[in-house]
């Protein structure tokens, strides 16, 4: 009871827990759009930022009301298991291959990500992987597969599996002068770049789609159905989509709304 006395819960405080990804949070998007939502509805959004895999697991345990991640295959699986109500496209951004100025794999300026990855492996250039079942990690693995490599079997000491979020992984890559696949949003707001810069971008296969789902109240009766639904509705509404598009860093738009 000491716990409740020290931190009184205000009954009229409306809030939801949204499980999202570290890259989305670290891009600063939430700081920008959540106050708009709060002003309109009075609902506070509490974002717990984890990797995509962990965020979905959190929701599977019923500890979140809404999930907002970017790994289509994992999201579909989540839906199929009955944990979500329905999936909506929200926005997309893209991934970029970041690399050191010295460019040992000679990929800089390229527009073909698969070719870029092949060259990195051929040169045994240091490469940092998220390794944390995040959307970015899943995308990275799928790209290796598309490029014709079974990275789990064929990797060498040049491939560093760190198990970290996007920010820490970029820190690691900057310290090691390594290549790394990053979402553009985190990269743009990342300040500790060292000698890294964008090596490969613009490939269609680097397209990164974000989706939102309401946690299924039938499976998780404690999930806040109405408040959560309000957030989902707002995010795919013209107003929410406009707020997403308005978020820029250094004049550059990070996320491109594409709800249907």
């Amino acid at each position: 009871m000491v716990l409740l006395a020290a931190f009184p819960v205000r009954a009229q405080d409306k809030f939801i827990v949204v499980a999202s990804t570290t890259s989305t949070e670290q891009s600063g998007l939430f700081d920008h759009i959540l106050p708009v939502f709060r002003k309109k509805t009075g609902i506070r959004v509490r974002v717990v930022a984890l990797g995509t895999g962990q965020a979905l697991d959190l929701a599977r345990r019923g500890d979140a009301d809404v999930v907002f991640v970017h790994a289509r295959s994992a999201e579909e699986k989540f839906l199929a298991e009955g944990h979500g109500v329905r999936r909506f496209d929200v926005m997309y951004n893209d991934f970029v291959l970041i690399g050191p100025k010295s460019d040992p794999a000679k990929v800089s300026g390229g527009r073909d990500i698969l070719e870029g990855l092949r060259k990195v492996k051929a040169a045994s250039a240091p490469f940092v992987s998220r390794g944390d079942r995040s959307g970015t990690h899943i995308a990275e693995l799928e790209l290796w597969k598309l490029a014709g490599m079974d990275i789990a079997a064929e990797k060498g000491p040049w491939y560093r599996d760190t198990g970290q979020g996007m920010g820490p992984a970029l820190n690691t890559a900057a310290a090691m002068n390594a290549y790394i696949l990053s979402d553009r949003g985190t990269w743009l707001s990342f300040k500790n770049r060292g000698e890294l810069s964008i090596a490969v971008e613009g490939d269609q296969r680097l397209f990164n789609q974000y989706g939102i789902m309401l946690v299924n109240p039938l499976k998780h009766p404690n999930a806040k159905r109405d408040l959560g639904q309000a957030f989902v509705d707002w995010i795919i509404s013209p107003e929410g989509q406009k707020a997403i598009a308005a978020y820029k860093i250094g004049g550059e738009q990070l996320f491109f709304p594409n709800a249907k």
Binding site: F7, A49, F190, R193
Partner: protein
């Protein structure tokens, strides 16, 4: 780096509101945890120190070992308890400061209990004959010793507070590092550092170090004062 440092100092001096919010929350969480740990741990330590029961040595060994509980492990266990899917899920305190207090209380309870047990047992060794001669029973003796060792116990409590204020593993997992709700000094430093955004992290780091130093100074002064005044 020096640019980050000067920005950090500016935040500190200007009492940046975000910074203040984070520091106050950290203090509230860790102080609450230490109060709970003291209320439970001091009597527990006294009872073990003065008591005679089978398995007493084993209890002492386990209690001492629990002082080294890794905070992340405590965080994981408390998360499993408080998760909606877990036994205490109905409390609904996951991802709130209450969960953080809960986890930190568990973390520092062994420290308070084990260290107070040691202090009181040392005192018991000195006082036992005299107290028994006066006719004091075990319960009365335990209470007397709790008061008599009050300065050592205060040092123990300060040690517990220092441990709580400095840990990041437990509060990260059960708090979720939610902006404006469960973001404390340590989790904020972790986040800002991972974003490569150093000024806020540095500012918080300096405050955290200052707090740790202050706590240790307080403990030292307490010992000195007590020795001089009470012997």
């Amino acid at each position: 780096m020096s640019e980050a440092l000067s920005t950090a100092l500016a935040l500190l001096i200007g009492l940046d509101s975000k910074l203040v919010e984070i520091v106050l929350l950290s203090l509230r969480v860790s102080l609450s945890a230490v109060v709970i740990a003291a209320l439970l741990g001091l009597p527990l330590g006294a009872a073990i120190a003065v008591g005679r029961f089978r398995g007493r040595q084993a209890v002492i060994v386990v209690l001492n070992a629990l002082m080294g509980l890794p905070p992340v492990v405590v965080g994981l266990l408390v998360y499993l308890l408080l998760s909606r899917a877990g036994p205490l899920g109905a409390l609904g305190i996951l991802f709130t400061p209450s969960a953080m207090v809960f986890a930190q209380s568990i973390l520092i309870l062994p420290i308070v209990a084990a260290l107070s047990r040691q202090a009181i047992e040392d005192a018991w060794r000195e006082y036992e004959e005299q107290l028994r001669s006066l006719g004091a029973g075990r319960l009365s003796a335990a209470l007397t010793l709790l008061w008599d060792t009050r300065f050592s116990l205060l040092t123990t409590i300060l040690a517990g507070f220092g441990r709580a204020a400095a840990e990041v593993g437990a509060v990260m997992i059960v708090g979720g590092n939610i902006d404006g709700v469960t973001r404390v000094m340590t989790t904020a430093i972790a986040l800002e550092t991972s974003k490569g955004d150093l000024p806020l992290a540095l500012g918080l780091g300096m405050i955290l170090i200052a707090i740790v130093i202050a706590v240790n100074a307080a403990a030292h002064l307490t010992r000195e004062l007590a020795q001089r005044r009470y012997g």
